[in-house]
């Protein structure tokens, strides 16, 4: 941001809280890699030095939903798996975003069948749909940039005083 030049002169600068929060928030989107099937391989490729998701501040793949901001649903979601995906989504703290990666997650894809959910937007609020079967790693980076633009349009108070979801207490599984 070229802040160092400012610091040399007066040692302070003025900005809006909103702008600062949004800038830091969108450059540190920690993904929850919900890798269910083959799209997850392309998602792994995004982390390697060739595509390097670290350039966008999202290299910290968190395998616990409680530390992540964005869920990348990469793979075919069956009806049985849908409950697990939703449970993990519910555990993520607000604010949170969802990428539906690939044809299967967006629309069921080639699995036009009784056991595959025909689009995860039936049970999750999706922010970015990502085309491809599987999508190229560049395409996932593009989706991340879209998410960053979306975060850039939010205000910090949009997520203030948001009630926590009431989760059912499960006795088994």
């Amino acid at each position: 941001m070229g802040l160092e030049a400012k610091l040399n002169n007066d040692n302070f600068f003025t900005t809006k809280i909103d702008a600062l929060i949004e800038w830091s928030r969108k450059n540190s989107v920690w993904p929850m890699p919900m890798g269910i099937s083959c799209c997850a391989i392309e998602m792994m490729a995004v982390g390697d030095p060739k595509y390097d998701i670290a350039r966008f501040g999202s290299e910290v793949m968190r395998f616990t939903p409680r530390q992540s901001d964005m869920m990348i649903v990469a793979g075919t979601v069956t009806y049985k798996m849908a409950h697990v995906v939703r449970k993990i989504y519910d555990q993520m703290p607000d604010p949170k975003w969802v990428i539906a990666m690939g044809a299967c997650t967006s629309s069921g894809g080639m699995y036009r069948s009784y056991n595959v959910v025909q689009g995860i937007d039936q049970f999750l609020p999706v922010d970015v749909y990502l085309a491809g079967c599987p999508p190229r790693p560049d395409n996932l980076l593009n989706a991340l940039i879209q998410i960053q633009e979306k975060i850039g349009r939010t205000k910090a108070r949009d997520f203030q005083d948001r009630p926590l979801p009431e989760l059912p207490v499960l006795q088994n599984n």
Partner: protein, 166 residues
């Protein structure tokens, strides 16, 4: 010593298991034996424990839904003799009214899950099975997806999704 198992197996069954009716057919060099469903455990036990045959490996258990035939289902067993490198197919018809067959999981332990899969997909019951639960579909699902009368896109409302709050 080269033995012709396609002749030896029916002959041995006839010698050792009296009063047991079966038919046989051969297609593309593979032998298939057709049994009555009440004899299936007896036959499997014999084929596994006979010192010459030793069908130790139960490769697969599956079923066929003939939709409009009188005996609607056929349960198919693929067994393999590691010693003789010989593959054998056993078939038994199952009626829709009395939709069950004896479990062979006491003979081959691997049959436990294979029979659960057949039960899940075709709704064929297995008597004396130790743990007959669904394999792939959720426990509360009431239909059998690989039956011919099951629609490809499923039955609406039969599988639940999590609620989406707006």
């Amino acid at each position: 010593m080269i033995m012709d198992f396609k002749e030896l197996i029916p002959q041995k069954i006839k010698e050792n298991l009296a009063n047991l009716n079966f038919e046989q057919s051969e297609y593309r060099d593979e032998l298939t034996l057709y049994f009555d469903k009440k004899d299936i455990v007896k036959v499997c036990n014999f084929l596994k424990k006979d010192p010459v045959l030793e069908f130790l490996l139960c490769e697969d258990i599956t079923a066929i839904d003939w939709a409009r035939r009188k005996n609607r289902f056929t349960v198919v067993y693929h067994i393999f003799s590691l010693k003789n490198k010989f593959r054998l197919r056993l078939k038994a018809d199952v009626d829709e009214e009395e939709c069950s067959i004896d479990s062979v999981s006491s003979v081959w332990r691997t049959a436990n899950w294979q029979e659960r899969e057949v039960y899940d997909m075709y709704g064929i019951g297995f008597n004396n099975h130790p743990d007959l639960r669904r394999m792939y579909m959720p426990e509360e699902f009431e239909h059998y997806p690989l039956r011919k009368d099951f629609p490809l896109m499923g039955i609406p409302g039969s599988l639940t999704l999590p609620k989406k709050e707006e």
